[in-house]
Symmetry: C2
Subunit: 227 residues, 2 copies
Amino acid sequence: MLYAGFMSSTLPPFPTPQEPVENTPVLLELGTDVDEPCLRADAARNRARLLDAAARLVAEHGAAGVTMEAVAAAAQVGKGTVFRRFGDRTGLLTALLDHSERKFQASILSGPAPLGPGAPPVERLRAFGCAALRRAADDLELQLAAEPCPDRRFLVPPRQVRYGHVLMLLRQAVPDADCELLAQTLMGYLEPALIHHLTRQCHMPMDRLQAGWFDLVERVTGSGGSR
Amino acid sequence: MLYAGFMSSTLPPFPTPQEPVENTPVLLELGTDVDEPCLRADAARNRARLLDAAARLVAEHGAAGVTMEAVAAAAQVGKGTVFRRFGDRTGLLTALLDHSERKFQASILSGPAPLGPGAPPVERLRAFGCAALRRAADDLELQLAAEPCPDRRFLVPPRQVRYGHVLMLLRQAVPDADCELLAQTLMGYLEPALIHHLTRQCHMPMDRLQAGWFDLVERVTGSGGSR
DNA sequence: TAACGATCCGGACCGAGGTCCGTTTAATTT
DNA sequence: AAATTAAACGGACCTCGGTCCGGATCGTTA
């Protein structure tokens, strides 16, 4: 089993001063929506409240309105509690995205082909890009706001899952290439910041991005039968 | 003349409340090191002092030590002055990188082949990547710290210059492709954050990144004569 | 050189992210 | 049910990026 060990899951930091607290990632367990495994009753209640309040704030004032203090106030909870639960702002925003990210992951891991297993790798790659583009297009704002600082951007669980997936497919499609690097390149095309730039600032239609993805996959995997 | 109009140049914000103050980019003028065109005597003096102080702070405490207040203090200048001159922290850090960025741009625009004009486009593309990788490797820390927020990352002059260059070369190499998108893809491979991840976190040697670039260019331009 | 207006300076001020630590509370044990 | 302990809570506090505006300075014009 390839990437067991870093299913998305809102990275639960519980940053009690001691112990580095790495990401305690939830193993797959596709159906069950195991969130925070063991959490004291009050903690769980507050966590739910906070996520709810945060979502409300996003809906009302956009991602920029999600201030840690505002969220705390809206959830009638102390500010420290927010940080204890989610580590930092990025963590909170990531948690907000967690549900849809999980669905995305699930459909990749075990959904119907060609996104899920069963189709040939290049075809799955194509499908993956389309799905990723779509997912990026929805709540782009949140994805941008949730972007961590540069030196953590590549260590975040959702990214690792996607990377692992692309890597696996690439290894099947072009076994002789340096697939790690090619995978990073492909991932770069799906970066929220780039999508935002191309669609919102350059006004490209999504169709074009999608066509671009197909073309890129074809070039990278050398699967261009005709040309 | 292709990309006249956005030579790097530390984006001079002079954010006097009114007027949007867009980037007033310096036209090429390769030899002359025209910095801030017209700047009052005291302003120019303070600007120099600030850059000097900032460089000193970087040398001593790393990029993280470059606090706007610390820089102001070290330059014996008010905090407001720093912001007036450089707009924000990103602007200051960018200004620090400006000198080497300009040299880089110059050698691309008019240096010796294959980096400069004269070589066939694919070869220039290869050379460009090598140079960009080298440049990213030096003062990686600064480049990371200077990274703007996601929705400005692609609008920053140095990035636009590089993009324009790659775009031009790609258009020569693969006239029928969607070169805008391919150019963005290639640029993604050279992103400082990615270089940092691959070299510092994955411990890949630079040689491998370089080989990866060659391979990528070959795949993207379809210039693989043999395989 | 005196006066004037545009530009610049400086530091008080604000908001937001993040930390700390004394206090409270939920679970467990006796 | 009382005691115990680990965990969670809350909000004061700190730092830092960014803004504002009254006052000082520079360059120019008369």
